[in-house]
C-alpha cells in the first residue's frame, strides 16, 4: 500500500514539475506582453490572465480533458493534465513576474538608461535578474500551490497520489490512514519545494541581494 502511495507521489511530483516548468516558460513569455506600449497586446495579456485565473481549476481540467479530443488532439490524461497545470500556473507566474518587474526601483532603471544600453542587454542584464529576485518568494508560493493543485487531475483519470489513495481506499476502506499518509506525502513535497526556494534565496544573498528590499 505504502509503495503504491509513494509511486503516486512520484507521479504527482512529475506532473507538478512538468506543469511548473512549462508554466514558468509560458509565464516568462506572457509577462513582457503586460508591459508593451501597444494597448491591444497589453489588453490581450490581461484578458488571458483574467480568464485563466478566474476559471476554477476543476472546470479548466474538465474543459481541456473533454476539449482536446474535440480538437483532434488526444494524447491521454497525462498530456492533458500537464496542459491544464501549464495554463493554470502560467497566469499566476506571469503576474508574479510582472510584480517582480514592477518592484524594480526607478533609480536602477535610470542608471541603465543613462548608460545607453540596447534593449536586449537591458532586459537580460538588469530587468530580468532584479525582477526574478523580487519575484522569488511569490514564485515559490505558486509552485507549492501547483503541487497540491495536481490532485484535481485525479478527476480526469490522471493517476497520481490522490487517485492512488482513492483506489486503495475503495479496496481497503482505511479512509483516514490512507488519506493521512497521502496528506503527509503532500506536505513533505511542499516542504521540499519551500526549502528549495529558501536555498535559492540564500544563494542570491551571496550574489549581492543582501539589503535589497522586497
Amino acid at each position: 500500500m505504502l509503495r503504491l502511495l509513494l509511486l503516486g507521489a512520484c507521479y504527482t511530483l512529475g506532473l507538478a514539475v512538468a506543469g511548473i516548468t512549462c508554466g514558468t516558460a509560458l509565464g516568462l513569455i506572457l509577462t513582457p506582453l503586460g508591459f508593451l506600449r501597444l494597448r491591444p497586446l497589453r489588453a490581450l495579456y490581461h484578458v488571458y490572465v483574467f480568464f485563466t485565473r478566474g476559471t476554477p481549476l476543476l472546470v479548466l481540467a474538465l474543459l481541456i480533458f473533454y476539449g482536446l479530443p474535440v480538437l483532434n488532439f488526444s494524447q491521454g490524461p497525462y498530456v492533458a493534465g500537464t496542459i491544464v497545470l501549464t495554463i493554470y500556473s502560467s497566469a499566476f507566474f506571469a503576474e508574479v513576474f510582472r510584480g517582480g518587474a514592477l518592484a524594480i526601483q526607478r533609480t536602477h532603471l535610470e542608471s541603465g538608461r543613462s548608460l545607453g544600453l540596447p534593449p536586449w542587454a537591458f532586459l537580460r542584464k538588469i530587468i530580468a535578474p532584479l525582477a526574478l529576485r523580487y519575484a522569488l518568494p511569490p514564485y515559490v508560493n505558486v509552485c507549492v500551490m501547483m503541487v497540491k493543485a495536481s490532485s484535481i487531475l485525479s478527476i480526469i483519470s490522471v493517476w497520481e497520489l490522490t487517485l492512488a489513495a482513492r483506489e486503495i481506499i475503495e479496496r481497503t476502506l482505511l479512509v483516514f490512514t490512507v488519506l493521512g499518509i497521502a496528506a503527509g506525502l503532500y506536505f513533505i513535497m511542499c516542504f521540499g519545494v519551500d526549502r528549495l526556494g529558501r536555498r535559492a534565496e540564500r544563494y542570491l544573498m551571496q550574489r549581492g541581494f543582501v539589503g535589497e528590499r522586497a
Binding site: 545607453g116 535578474p129 539589503g211
Partner: protein, 252 residues
C-alpha cells in the same frame, strides 16, 4: 560644449519647474548649479541627458541638437530610441543614491556599459574597468558587491561606471548628499582629479565650499531660472540677486 537654450519644463502637476534656462558649458569647464530645493537644478541636470522630457527649448552637444528633432513647420518629435541611446552614451551621470546594480560586482558594474553599449571586446573592457577602479582607489574591491561597500566606495564605483563610457561630459547630481560626512572627502578627491584632466562637468551640489574650489562658474537657480551666474568668487562673495543673498546667508 553643451548649450542649453530657452529650456522650459512643466511637471504634469502643472508646476513650471524650468522657466527659460540658458546656459553654455565649454569643453573642460566645470559649472556648479546651486539653489534651494525645488529650484529646478536637478531637473535641469536630468533634462540634459533626457531622463526628463522638456516642453520647449533646445540642448546641443558640440552643436548637435539633442533628444528632439524639429521639423521645418516647427513640430517637435523625439529622436528614435536608438539615436537617444547613442547620445546618452556620450554623457555620464552619477546619482545621489549611487544606483549601482546590486546583483553585479564593482567590476561588472563598470564593465556593463562598455561591453553592451559600446560592444567592446571583453579583455579590453576588463582592462579599462580595472584601470578606472584603481584610479578611484578601489583596486582591491573589484570583486565586491555593492552591499559590501561603504557609501563612499559605492559612489566611487558609480563614478568609474560613468567614466567607463568615455563621456564628453559628466553630470553629477548631489553625489555627496547621501554620504556620511567622513566619506565625502574621498569622493570629492576623485572629482578634483577629474577637474585636472579638464573633464567637462555639470555639478548639482549643496557643498558651497567644494563648488567654490573646483567650479569655473557657479549658476544660481531660483524658481526655474538662472538668476545669477559667474565665477565662484564673484557670485559667492558679492551676490547681487536678493534671493541669492538670502540663500547664502542661510548656508553654513
Amino acid at each position: 560644449m553643451i548649450s542649453v537654450e530657452g529650456l522650459h519644463k512643466r511637471f504634469p502637476s502643472g508646476l513650471e519647474v524650468l522657466r527659460g534656462i540658458d546656459l553654455t558649458i565649454g569643453d573642460g569647464e566645470v559649472v556648479s548649479l546651486i539653489g534651494r530645493s525645488g529650484s529646478g537644478k536637478t531637473t535641469l541636470l536630468r533634462c540634459i541627458n533626457f531622463l526628463e522630457e522638456y516642453d520647449s527649448g533646445e540642448i546641443r552637444l558640440d552643436g548637435t541638437p539633442l533628444w528632439y528633432r524639429t521639423a521645418t513647420g516647427g513640430d517637435r518629435t523625439r529622436l528614435p530610441e536608438s539615436a537617444i541611446r547613442g547620445l546618452r552614451q556620450q554623457m555620464g551621470i552619477v546619482f545621489q543614491q549611487f544606483n549601482l546594480f546590486p546583483h553585479m560586482t564593482a567590476l561588472e558594474n563598470v564593465c556593463l556599459g562598455p561591453s553592451f553599449a559600446h560592444k567592446r571586446p571583453e579583455a579590453e573592457v576588463k582592462d579599462l574597468a580595472q584601470r578606472l577602479l584603481e584610479r578611484v582607489g578601489l583596486g582591491g574591491k573589484m570583486r565586491s558587491y555593492p552591499y559590501q561597500l561603504s557609501g563612499g566606495e559605492q559612489q566611487r564605483v558609480a563614478i568609474a561606471r560613468a567614466l567607463a563610457m568615455r563621456p564628453k561630459v559628466l553630470l553629477l547630481d548631489e553625489i555627496t548628499s547621501a554620504l556620511d560626512p567622513e566619506l565625502v572627502g574621498e569622493v570629492l578627491e576623485v572629482i578634483r582629479s577629474l577637474v585636472l584632466e579638464r573633464m567637462m562637468m555639470v555639478i548639482v551640489t549643496h557643498e558651497l565650499r567644494f563648488a567654490r574650489e573646483i567650479s569655473h562658474r557657479i549658476a544660481y537657480l531660483s524658481r526655474g531660472q538662472i538668476t545669477e551666474i559667474g565665477p565662484p568668487g564673484e557670485l559667492l562673495d558679492n551676490p547681487q540677486d536678493p534671493t541669492l543673498k538670502e540663500f547664502l546667508r542661510r548656508m553654513p
